[in-house]
Amino acid sequence: MTEAECVECGGTVALHDDLEIGEIVDCETCGAELEVVDVSPPVLDRAPELEEDWGE
């Protein structure tokens, strides 16, 4: 179990071990969606809003 700082509220976000780049985690303090941009050490950034599309 590791942790990282929320870029939105500065709160601590608990992270599970097999974290992957690109994964989205929720900040339990402020509710922000955060993207894992690095894993060792873990770095979080705000997850982009993306319109869901219906593809090809």
């Binding site: 992957e20 989205i24 993306l50 319109e51 869901e52 599309d53 219906w54 593809g55």
Partner: protein, 293 residues
């Protein structure tokens, strides 16, 4: 949008194969279940009668075949709301362009020319015909985890270069339009990206103020998806539209969404109809299938 004889054309009858109606945009499927032969003959008939026609096609079967022959395993991803779609990485995008803009488009242009139609093939990249932002990052669900996945090559047309189509139509050509579209990565830089052909057809029909005929392998939208006898023939009121969207399932959901986009952006009417009947386009313009307006 108005044109000479709009009222007469709208009720489908006397002008359905004549030259006085609005342009007709025909979406031809790219799946094996849809045979283009009837549609090609019909386009020739409409064009001979002076009607402006633009054809937009897909080609998913050809893309799948080429990926298979190249040994490229497509990655399918699931969106948070449960829709599954192909992730178009660079290698897949290249094969997509070869199959769609190279093979399917050239084959269809050839079939049209041999039917007497002076067809000109265009991809959405040509002249920026279909332009919109490239979508590189997508939200997906993998093993129950939400993720951002980058490197997708897809997009939705936000602008249509209808001037290019008008120029060709004015000179007697029949444009045959194919994905990919031109996906902008910045204000001045774009790249070919995958786009849904139904949606591309909708954008073209909207831009031209055209009547859109979406040919598929069923007779239209069924109120009960398992029962062809429940074909919804006409959708003209809000209640009928709600019933339509409730009824649409699976791939038909996309067609109804495309129809909605077409009507909202300026198309005069949309008909979803069967490609595998005699004179499928003229039949659709005459009232076969599901007509939405």
């Amino acid at each position: 949008m108005s044109w000479p004889g709009a009222a007469a054309a709208a009720d489908g009858g006397p002008l359905a194969d004549g030259g006085d109606g609005p342009p007709v945009v025909v979406k031809l499927g790219g799946a094996r279940a849809v045979d283009p032969a009837g549609a090609v003959g019909d386009v020739a008939h409409l064009v001979a009668n002076g009607r402006d026609v633009v054809v937009v096609h897909g080609g998913s079967t050809a893309v799948d075949d080429l990926l298979d022959r190249l040994g490229i395993e497509s990655e399918y991803v699931e969106t948070p709301s449960g829709v599954t779609g192909r992730f178009t990485d660079e290698e897949t995008m290249e094969a997509f362009t070869m199959a769609m803009a190279g093979q399917v488009n050239t084959d269809l242009v050839t079939a049209m020319k041999n039917a007497g139609v002076d067809a000109v093939g265009l991809s959405g990249v040509d002249g920026g015909l279909l332009t919109g932002p490239r979508k590189s990052a997508v939200r997906v669900v993998e093993d129950g985890k939400k993720k951002i996945k980058r490197g997708d090559h897809s997009g939705t047309p936000k602008e249509v270069n209808d001037g290019l189509l008008d120029t060709l139509l004015a000179d007697g050509y029949t444009p045959v339009v194919s994905p990919p579209m031109f996906g902008m990565e910045s204000e001045s830089e774009g790249t070919p990206v995958n786009t849904d052909a139904d949606r591309a057809a909708a954008a073209v029909a909207g831009a031209l103020g055209a009547e859109l005929v979406v040919l598929t392998d069923v007779s239209g939208v069924y109120a009960d998806p398992d029962d062809p006898d429940t074909l919804i023939e006409s959708v003209a009121t809000g209640d009928e539209y709600d019933a339509l969207t409730d009824a649409a399932e699976g791939f038909m959901t996309r067609k109804v969404m495309a129809a909605t986009e077409a009507l909202e952006s300026g198309a005069t009417a949309v008909t979803v109809a069967d490609a595998n009947v005699r004179d499928p386009i003229v039949a659709a313009l005459d009232g076969a299938g599901t007509r939405i307006e």
